[in-house]
Structures are given as structure tokens and as C-alpha cells.
């Protein structure tokens, strides 16, 4: 009897309903490998997992039939990792998923045409989202096919350069439920096509018209859209003042407007535009006309404005002061790379807007401690501060930031004078998640120790060319910030295996940039990657002590690796070939590795079927058989041939001085 009972309860999961397992599986999202291991546990888990899965990112389309047979409940298919999706694949998808499929991402795939899209559009009647960005070969026939997808709500057509007004016209008539459409870089579509979209698709919420050859003529009909919230007109050179004057009907629903890089819009044109869009909350005027009093006055109508981005504009004091006066409650201000931002101008805004949450003063080189002290006194609720290359701000300024702005989550101090004291002060910002300290030459391990002990929520740390950082500093960070997702220790020449191998403790690491760290060896790499199973990007350029011995464990553990740079390393054919087991490796850069042979490279390239982009030295172009290259290109891989001369590595301080010399030539 006892024995029988035991047999009955061999699998306790039989007692748990599928729904409960589903909700458990819902939580296993951080690492795709987890779900894989779960499904491989037993047959019932295998089926449960197959029934549960809604989202699938296939690595290659060859196995689609069997994969789609297994996963019957898929609603979202993401092909951004598979280099080659053909019409046949799309036909298979459309038959297997039919009306269940709601979302499809083909943004990185080529090789499909109107036929596949037609089959999708007719069979997958509930398709709501489709991303066709970068499908540069698609023509109007594809648009006609797409127009059959009546329920489409979101559509990305970025860089579909061959689709014309006629094609987009068909989409406009067919897909009347569209809520978002991106036509970025669609160079063949003009006013008529965009105008027709605006006329026929009344539900449009978001419209991305960046870098299109449109003029003001389509704007009136766009601004008549009742629900339009987000309009991007970046880089539309055809839009100029004359046309903006004709806008009569305002768009009451518009919340975000981006007219950056539109050099032909002057303050007059802008004021007629803002008159039509009074409920605007976010306005981007980057790289446009100078921010003068006239321009600032044109923003007077925008009482709801919360965010202003003026990146790259020439800014005057009057302009800044007027902006400060006319906007009621600014929470986000970006003056990145603005010329002419002075302490007075910045302070006039800071005084008025104490609720400022985000401030970007990158490369505002005239800013001094005066502004910083004002900032830290008035804007205490700041969460994001970007002040790269504010070289006049002294060490004391950063101490003030640490004292005043405790809520900082994002801080970019690249190329500044901050020292250990400053970092100690900043360690009070316990919510800090992104910290960039690149080219801060006054730092050393002591300061980093403060960050490591206090800022446990750190996700990203950039220590690019922080010459003073050694193993102990990095170790402090690794111990203190276990959630780290990105770390950049490029050109921190003193980092050795001792600390690098400890990176295994940061199991969430997705990006490791370890350029120019000659002391890191294969041993350290092997140790590190053993823990970093989520690693996606790895840069080992100029790590000359990394060789094949590091590649084999890397290929074993980091199954999610997408990008790797092995230039100047000591990897040979063997190491390169071992990377073939990385199922989703897409970008491979191998320059200046004199240990590679053409046949080895050829074998590695052939073995790695997921590659989409390979950077090689130009020499290999002649050495590799032409047919092989053709074959790889058909498989979806593109090549970049580089002919860079080998450069000797400079001392960090010399490097910075050289950089400054170059900058002075520019300015």
C-alpha cells in the first residue's frame, strides 16, 4: 500500500494547476536560460512551458515549423536576432500562428517581400504591431500587402526608402486603426502620403516623420488629428517659416513635439506652430535656430510645458531668462552642447524652476561653481544631472552636488575635476543607478570605495580612462553593487585578474567594456564569465593577454552574448572557432590579430550562422574566397573591412592633453 501511494505522488507538480505554474513562470523573466532549463526538466514541464510562452525570439528561422508547432500560444514574435527571414518563413508563421499573432518584429531581417507580408496580413487577422524598419528593399507592392492588415495599430517603416506615396496611401486607406506609425528616413514619401495618413487614420497617437522630405503642406492635416500626442519632425529640412504661418487649426491633444534639426524654422515659424499646439508638454528644439528672446517668446503660449530640449543651439542670456519666465513648471531641461550658456543664464532658470528633475548641461564649458551652488540650493529634487566636460566646475562644486541633491539617480561627470572628496559626498545619493566618471583623472580607489559602500543600487558605472582606479576600487564596487548591469573599465590599465575575475559575482552584468586592460588574462576572463550568464556585450580590444583559453569558457557560459570585440587580442583560429557555439552572436570585430589565418576565419564565419555584422581587416577581403563571402552575405551577414594602422597606446594624461589640443582646434 505504502508503495502504491508513493508511486501516485511521484510528481507533486501534477497537483498544481497549470495556472499556478504559469504565474510562477511569469516571474522567470530575467534570464531566458531559466525558462529553457525549466522546460527541459520533464515532459510535463516541457508542455506547460510551451503552453505558457507568449513571446518568442527565434535565433534562426530554419527551425520555425517545429518551433511554432511546439509553441501554440505565441502572440509576439521577435526576429531581431535572426538574420534571415524569408517569405517562406513568413508564410509558415502566418499559417501556424494565424489569428493569435498580435505583434511581429522584423526590424533586423531582410530577404522577405510583399508575398510574405500578404500572407501575414491575410492570415494573421489580429496583427496589431509590425516592425519593418530597415527593410530597405520593400516596395509599394509590400505596402499594398500590408494594407490588408486591417487591425494594425503600430507600424514601423523606418528606412523603407523605396516605399512611395502610393504605397503609404494604400496603408493609409487599409489600416485605418493605426495609432502609431514611424516613417523615419522614408525618403520616397512626401507630403501627399503623410497627408493621406493624417486624413484616413484618425486614431493616430504617435507620428514619427524624422528625416522625411516633407514640407509644411502636410502639417495642417496632421494637426487636425484629434488624438495626436507625439509628433516627431526631426531633420525635416523642407519645413520652413512660410508654411508654418498657414496653420490655423490647433492640435489640442499634442503633448510631445520634436522639431530638432529643422534649420528653416525660425522664431516666427515656431510661434505659429506653438500657437496651434497649446497643450504641449515636451518640446525639442535641438540643433535649430539660436535661442534668442524672440524664440523664447514664441513659447509663451505653452503653459503646460514641462520639458524643453535645446541641445546644440546657440543660447543667449535673454533667451534663457525668457524661457525661465514663460514656462510655468519645467521639470526637464536640456542644454547639452549649447554654446553661450553662462552662469547668469542658467541661474535665471534655476531660480524659477525649483522642481527641476532633469538637467543636462553637457559641454557647457562656461558653467562654474556659482551655477552649481545655485543648482544644489534650489533644485534639490533633481534626479538626473548630466554635466560632462564642465571643466570650470571645481572640486568643491561636486561636494556641493553630493550635499544638495540626494535624490540623484543618474549622474554624468565624465571629464570633470571631481576627486575622492567629491565622490565621498556623492555617496549620499543612495538612489544612484547610473554613474559616469570617465576621464576623471583626480579619482582613485578611495573615492570609488565610498560609492561601493553606499550606492548599492548602482546599475551602470563608467570608469573609462580613470587611470587611478586599481583592483581594490573595482573590488569595492563589485562587492557593494551586486546589481551592476554595465561596467566600463576601458583603459584602466592597472586592473588585473584579481578584481576582474570577481565580476562573476555581478550576475546581472550585460555589458563589460574592458578595452586596453593588458593585465587581464584568459584566466580572469574565464572566472568572470562563469558568473555572467546574461552577458551580451563584451569588449576585449587590446587585452593582449586574452587568448583561446578564455574563449572556450566564454563560449560555454555566455550563451546570450551578442557582440564581441577581440581586436589586438591573442586569440587564434581555435578561439574564434570555439565562439561558434554562441547561438546569438551577431557582431564580431577582429582587427589586428596576427594569429588568425584566412582558413581559420573562414571556418569560424561559416560555423557562426547567427552573425550579422563582421569587422575584419581589409587584408582578409582578398584572402577569403569570394564565394564564401557571397554565401555569408546571403545568409544575412554584412562585412566591414577596416584598414586602420596600428596605434601605440598613450598614457592617459598624454591622451587627455592630446584630446584637449584637438578640441581647441575645433572651437
Amino acid at each position: 500500500m505504502k508503495r502504491q501511494k508513493f508511486i501516485e505522488h511521484t510528481n507533486p507538480f501534477d497537483l498544481i494547476s497549470d495556472e499556478i505554474i504559469f504565474s510562477i513562470l511569469d516571474l522567470l523573466t530575467s534570464n531566458p536560460i531559466d525558462l529553457k532549463s525549466f522546460s527541459l526538466t520533464c515532459k510535463s514541464f516541457y508542455y506547460v512551458e510551451a503552453k505558457h510562452r507568449k513571446i518568442l525570439k527565434p535565433l534562426r528561422s530554419e527551425h520555425l515549423p517545429s518551433v511554432l508547432q511546439r509553441y501554440t500560444q505565441l502572440t509576439h514574435l521577435d526576429f531581431s536576432l535572426s538574420p534571415r527571414v524569408t517569405d517562406a518563413s513568413l508564410v509558415i508563421i502566418s499559417k501556424a500562428c494565424n489569428s493569435k499573432l498580435r505583434s511581429l518584429d522584423l526590424s533586423r531581417s531582410k530577404f522577405f517581400s510583399a508575398t510574405g507580408l500578404l500572407s501575414l496580413a491575410t492570415n494573421c487577422t489580429n496583427l496589431v504591431e509590425i516592425d519593418l524598419s530597415n527593410a530597405t528593399e520593400l516596395r509599394d507592392a509590400a505596402a499594398v500587402a500590408l494594407a490588408k492588415a486591417k487591425n494594425l495599430e503600430k507600424l514601423w517603416l523606418g528606412r523603407c526608402k523605396l516605399i512611395t506615396d502610393m504605397g503609404i496611401g494604400c496603408i493609409a486607406v487599409g489600416c485605418t486603426k493605426l495609432r502609431f506609425i514611424s516613417l523615419k528616413w522614408c525618403m520616397s514619401i512626401g507630403d501627399l502620403g503623410v497627408g493621406l495618413i493624417a486624413v484616413k487614420c484618425e486614431q493616430i497617437r504617435g507620428l514619427d516623420l524624422s528625416y522625411m522630405q516633407i514640407t509644411e503642406k502636410c502639417l495642417p492635416s496632421i494637426l487636425k488629428l484629434k488624438y495626436l500626442e507625439d509628433l516627431v519632425l526631426e531633420g525635416c529640412f523642407g519645413i520652413d517659416d512660410d508654411c508654418l504661418g498657414v496653420i490655423r487649426y490647433g492640435c489640442k491633444s499634442l503633448k510631445k513635439l520634436d522639431v530638432s534639426s529643422c534649420p528653416n524654422i525660425s522664431p516666427t515659424g515656431l510661434s505659429s506652430l506653438t500657437r496651434a499646439t497649446t497643450s504641449l508638454q515636451q518640446l525639442t528644439l535641438a540643433y535649430g535656430s539660436p535661442v534668442t528672446l524672440a524664440l523664447a517668446n514664441s513659447l509663451k503660449n505653452l503653459s503646460m510645458l514641462q520639458s524643453v530640449k535645446l541641445d546644440g543651439c546657440v543660447v543667449t542670456y535673454d533667451g534663457l531668462e525668457a524661457i525661465g519666465n514663460c514656462c510655468a513648471s519645467l521639470s526637464d531641461l536640456s542644454l547639452s552642447k549649447c554654446v553661450g550658456v553662462t552662469d547668469e543664464g542658467l541661474i535665471s532658470i534655476l531660480k524659477k524652476h525649483k522642481d527641476l528633475k532633469k538637467l543636462d548641461i553637457t559641454c557647457c564649458r562656461k558653467i562654474t561653481d556659482v551655477s552649481i551652488s545655485n543648482l544644489t540650493n534650489s533644485c534639490t529634487s533633481l534626479t538626473s544631472l548630466k554635466m560632462e566636460s564642465c571643466s570650470l566646475v571645481s572640486r568643491e562644486g561636486f561636494i556641493l552636488i553630493g550635499r544638495g541633491c540626494h535624490l540623484l539617480e543618474e549622474l554624468d561627470l565624465t571629464d570633470n575635476e571631481i576627486d575622492n572628496e567629491g565622490l565621498r559626498s556623492l555617496s549620499r545619493c543612495s538612489k544612484l543607478s547610473i554613474l559616469k566618471l570617465g576621464i576623471c583623472l583626480n579619482l582613485n580607489d578611495e573615492g570609488l570605495g565610498h560609492i561601493g559602500t553606499c550606492c548599492s543600487k548602482l546599475l551602470e558605472l563608467d570608469l573609462y580612462r580613470c587611470a587611478g582606479i586599481t583592483d581594490s576600487g573595482l573590488l569595492a564596487i563589485i562587492h557593494g553593487c551586486p546589481d551592476l548591469e554595465m561596467i566600463n573599465i576601458a583603459y584602466c590599465r592597472d586592473i588585473t585578474d584579481k578584481s576582474f575575475s570577481s565580476l562573476r559575482k555581478c550576475s546581472r552584468l550585460k555589458t563589460i567594456e574592458a578595452r586596453g586592460c593588458p593585465l587581464i588574462t584568459s584566466f580572469g576572463l574565464a572566472e568572470a564569465v562563469a558568473g555572467c550568464k546574461l552577458l551580451r556585450r563584451l569588449d576585449l580590444k587590446k587585452c593582449c593577454n586574452v587568448d583561446d583559453a578564455g574563449m572556450i569558457p566564454l563560449a560555454h557560459f555566455s550563451q546570450n552574448l551578442r557582440q564581441i570585440n577581440l581586436s589586438y587580442s591573442s586569440v587564434t583560429d581555435l578561439g574564434l572557432l570555439s565562439l561558434a557555439s554562441l547561438g546569438c552572436l551577431q557582431h564580431l570585430t577582429v582587427l589586428h590579430t596576427n594569429r588568425l589565418t584566412p582558413s581559420g576565419v573562414a571556418a569560424a564565419l561559416l560555423a557562426n550562422s547567427s552573425l550579422t555584422k563582421v569587422k575584419l581587416h581589409a587584408l582578409f577581403q582578398a584572402l577569403l574566397p569570394e564565394r564564401l563571402l557571397k554565401h555569408l552575405e546571403v545568409r544575412g551577414c554584412t562585412f566591414e573591412w577596416r584598414e586602420k594602422i596600428f596605434q601605440a597606446e598613450l598614457d592617459p594624461k598624454c591622451w587627455k592633453m592630446q584630446l584637449e589640443d584637438e578640441m581647441q582646434i575645433v572651437f
Binding site: 510583399a114 500572407s119 492570415n123 509599394d140 507592392a141 499594398v144 486607406v173 487599409g174 493621406l196
Partner: protein, 512 residues
């Protein structure tokens, strides 16, 4: 004043001078529009009427005469009519001239010349009436014609071609005009004058029909040359009282000919053609003056501006419409009426899908047909992309149709996509064929316009249609039979495809 005296001295003159009054009272019953025309002329007469003593007694005469004419339509002779016209026209002209005296001095002299001539001529008409002989002498006709043209020009404008003191040669065309202007009086026809029995039954009807549409011939330029006039006045903003409104009946609008030969009754569309035709009737029509184009009047300030109303009730161009927008000229009326209220009976022989009601529109289209590369799913083609997109924006369900060759090059190996395009296109063409067929059938009974010119029967058509319902009337030729046949023959393969109208379905079948 000398001219007045000379005019009044002749009894015939005064007698006939009162005729217009009689006319003025009569027309409104039958021809509301002519009454307006006459009314316009009426005012200037008033001064003269006071001067003429015998006016009152004389006015009854014409009335009686006209009554007789109405009873038996063949009696009234054109000569009498012409003399009437001739009589009152110079008066009107003189009257007008006296109005314009201050402005145009030269005109007076020329009118005197006319008056002087008339004195000589008056003897002869009497002879002619008595003898009941042939047509008026060349002198008389030339003067008549001149007077007529003056009179005709008086309708739209006062200033006239006084250079035509030399008898103009385009006589008969203006002659017609005057007859038309006098409205019902013309019913009498030319019988007695011509004495030519064979043509008598035809002429009156002819004149009658044409009189309706020919009233404003002075103004009509070349028939089809300025077809945009209708659109030209779109934005004219005349205050409501500042112009007088004329309304032609649809029969008049649709009459094929507007110029008629006074001798043989043959109808023409253009006065120039009529003048060419007149050469065959005698040497007197071959003079340079007779062949010259009658001078166009310069327009007048004294006359009210004339605007036209479309007879179609409910039309925006109809005077009873709330937002009435008048039409500028007779030609505008004609083109507007045909375009808006008539079937489109002309089909393009190239594309077999576009149809027009105005032949000039067809010709314009045919020039560009085939060059239109912007195609809508409904089969309509456009020469300009913006026009296509405007069309698509306007109509629900219409989509741009991508040309076949483009979809061919579109994809590496997508023959299904092409097929989709093909079926789509065929289906749309089909659709338009269907409507052609229906349009064609309604036109079937109408004779060809060109044939009509030679065929005397066609002269009757306006009259014949006058009595019956004009419902499906078309003055213009229906499309050649070959074309309609073509359309139908296309329909057959087309309808085969029509069933699989949505290319998506067919191609999905292919996929499975």
C-alpha cells in the same frame, strides 16, 4: 435732331417702331427670358414713344398680326418682321446713341448714314411686300443685317459696330439673331419673304428652336473654345441686385445649332461656318464685308450686367437656390448644364472608361489620356499625383493602385503579388465599364451630331423634343458603336476576374 426727324417722317417707320412694344407684352407668356431681353431694350424707347403721335393706334397692329401668326404659323413673313426690327432697331440704337452721344460722337454720324439709307430702302420693301417676290434686295438685307446686328448688340450692350456702316456680310447670322430676339414673332417664318415653298415647313420650326438658344449669339464666341468660363466666374461677387438674371430652357441650352441660314434653314454651330455657307446663296455674300466677322461690341455701362441661371431646379446655379451663383455667359450655361445635369455620353476611345458630357472636355482628356499614370482603385486615372490623393482623401475605400510594372520589379520572386495587382486593376476597370454600358444605352436613340448637320430631320429635333419629355435627351452623339461594343467585350474577361475582386483571397488560395 436730324436722325429722329428722318425716322419719324416715315409712316412705316413709326408703325414698325411700335412693334417692340407689342413684343414686350407678349413674350412673357411663352419666353420669360426673352421678355427680360426685351425689357432691357424697352426703356430706351420710352422717350421716342412720346414723340411719336401715332404710337397708340399703331401698337395694336402688331399684336393682331402676331395673333394671326400664332394661328397659322406660316403666314407671317420675315420681311415684315425684318422691317419691324429694322425699324425699331435703329430707333433703339439711335436712342442709345443719344444716350451715348456725349460719349461717342462718331457713332451718330454713322447712324445718320444708316438712317439716310433707310429712307431709300423703305420704298423697296413696300414693293417687295406688294409683289411678294424674292428675298430682300442686297441693299436692304445689308442694312437689315446691319440694323439687326446693331439691335442684337443692343441686347447685351449698347455700343455697336458702327464701322459696319458698310453693309456687313455675316448678315444672316445676325439676321437670325434679331429674329430670335423678337421672340414669338418669328414663328411666322420666312415664307412670304422667301416665296420658296419647299423649305417653308422646316424653317419656322428651325428658327423657333434656335431662337431659344440663339438670343445671345452676339456674345457667344467660338463654341468650345473657352470651356473654363464656367469656372472663371466662381469667385465673382456681384451684389444680388446689380445684374439681371436670364434663364434659358433646357431645350434651348441643348439645341445643337445656334446659327441658321435664313435662306435654306441649315443650322450651324458657328457663325463663321454660316458665313462660309452663305457664299453659296449668291455673290452678295462673297464680299469681304459679308465674310468679315461681325464686330464685337465693346460692352456698355448703361445696360445692366447679365448673368444666367440654370433651369435645373435645386442647382446652385439656379436663381431660386439660396446660395445662387450666376453663370457668366451663355456658353457657361451650356457647359454647366451639360456637365452637371446631363448624362456623360462621350467616352474616351483610348481608355474606354472616362466619360464626358461636353465634347471639348473629351478632346482635352484624349490629349492626355494614356499619359495619366496616377491610378485609383476605382479605375480613375489622374495626370497629377496630388489630384489622385485628393480623390482618395475624398472617397471612402478608394486606394492608390500601383502600376503593374512597378510591382513586377518590386520583389525578387513574388508572382503572387503581381497577380494581386492585376486582379485589382481588372476589377476596377470592370466597374467603370459597367457604368459606361448603362450610360450608352440611354443615348442610343440620339442621332449623330455630324449627321444632323446634313440631315434636315435633325432640324426638327429641337421642336420634336419640345413637345415631348426631355428626360433622356442628348443633343450630342452617343459614342460610336464600336466603342461600346469594345467596352462590352472587355467586360467579359473582366467579369471573370471580378469575382475574385480581392487579390488577397486569391493569393491566399495559392498559398494553401
Amino acid at each position: 435732331m436730324e436722325p429722329e426727324d428722318s425716322l419719324c417722317s416715315s409712316e412705316v417707320w413709326t408703325k414698325s417702331s411700335s412693334f417692340p412694344n407689342g413684343n414686350v407684352q407678349q413674350p412673357p407668356q411663352k419666353w420669360p427670358d426673352t421678355s427680360i431681353l426685351d425689357y432691357a431694350m424697352d426703356q430706351p424707347f420710352q422717350e421716342f414713344q412720346e414723340q411719336t403721335e401715332s404710337k397708340a393706334s399703331l401698337t395694336c397692329n402688331p399684336n393682331q398680326q402676331i395673333e394671326i401668326l400664332d394661328k397659322d404659323s406660316n403666314q407671317m413673313n420675315a420681311a415684315l418682321l425684318a422691317s419691324k426690327i429694322q425699324d425699331w432697331d435703329p430707333r433703339a440704337m439711335l436712342n442709345n446713341l443719344s444716350f451715348l452721344e456725349q460719349k461717342i460722337h462718331q457713332l451718330q454720324e454713322l447712324v445718320h448714314l444708316i438712317v439716310g439709307r433707310r429712307g431709300q430702302v423703305f420704298g423697296r420693301p413696300d414693293e417687295l411686300v406688294v409683289q411678294q417676290q424674292q428675298l430682300i434686295t442686297a441693299d436692304l438685307t445689308s442694312i437689315i443685317v446691319q440694323l439687326i446686328s446693331t439691335a442684337g448688340s443692343l441686347l447685351p450692350s449698347v455700343k455697336h459696330n458702327l464701322s459696319a456702316a458698310v453693309p456687313p456680310v455675316g448678315q444672316l447670322e445676325p439676321f437670325d439673331k434679331v429674329i430670335f430676339a423678337s421672340g414669338p414673332g418669328t414663328n411666322g417664318g420666312v415664307q412670304s419673304q422667301h416665296g420658296d415653298g419647299t423649305k417653308l415647313p422646316e424653317l419656322p420650326t428651325q428658327v423657333d428652336g434656335s431662337s431659344k438658344c440663339g438670343k445671345e449669339q452676339n456674345m457667344t464666341v467660338e463654341e468650345h473654345e473657352s470651356k473654363d468660363e464656367e469656372d472663371a466666374d466662381e469667385h465673382e461677387n456681384l451684389p444680388p441686385g446689380s445684374y439681371e438674371i436670364l434663364q434659358l430652357e433646357k431645350e434651348e441650352i441643348l439645341a445643337p445649332h445656334t446659327h441658321f441660314c435664313a435662306i435654306c434653314g441649315k443650322g450651324f454651330k458657328r457663325d463663321a461656318n454660316l458665313r462660309m455657307h452663305m457664299r453659296g446663296h449668291g455673290d452678295e455674300y462673297k464680299t469681304a464685308a459679308a465674310l468679315a466677322k461681325p464686330n464685337k461690341e465693346l460692352g456698355s455701362e448703361t445696360m445692366l450686367i447679365k448673368r444666367y441661371s440654370c433651369p435645373f431646379t435645386g442647382c446652385k446655379r439656379n436663381k431660386d437656390h439660396k446660395k445662387f451663383q450666376p453663370l457668366k455667359t451663355i456658353l457657361c450655361v451650356k457647359n454647366h448644364y451639360k456637365r452637371t445635369h446631363c448624362d456623360k455620353s462621350f467616352t474616351c476611345s483610348k481608355c474606354n472608361s472616362k466619360k464626358f458630357s461636353v465634347i471639348a472636355d473629351l478632346k482635352t482628356h484624349e490629349k492626355h489620356c494614356g499619359k495619366d499614370k496616377w491610378l485609383c482603385s476605382c479605375g480613375t486615372t489622374f495626370s497629377r499625383k496630388d489630384k489622385l490623393f485628393g480623390h482618395i482623401a475624398l472617397f471612402q475605400g478608394h486606394t492608390p493602385a500601383i502600376p503593374l510594372d512597378e510591382s513586377k520589379g518590386a520583389t525578387v520572386s513574388c508572382d503572387r503579388g503581381e497577380r494581386y495587382e492585376t486582379t485589382n486593376k481588372l476589377g476596377s476597370i470592370n466597374f467603370s465599364f459597367g457604368s459606361i454600358a448603362s450610360g450608352g444605352s440611354s443615348v442610343e436613340t440620339i442621332a449623330d451630331a455630324k449627321g444632323g448637320v446634313d440631315d434636315p430631320l435633325s432640324y426638327f429635333s429641337p421642336l420634336n423634343f419640345d413637345s415631348c419629355n426631355f428626360g433622356g435627351f442628348h443633343e450630342f452623339p452617343r459614342p460610336p458603336f464600336e466603342n461600346t461594343d469594345n467596352a462590352f467585350s472587355f467586360l467579359i474577361p473582366g467579369s471573370g476576374n471580378y469575382t475574385q475582386k480581392s487579390g488577397a483571397e486569391s493569393s491566399s488560395n495559392n498559398l494553401e
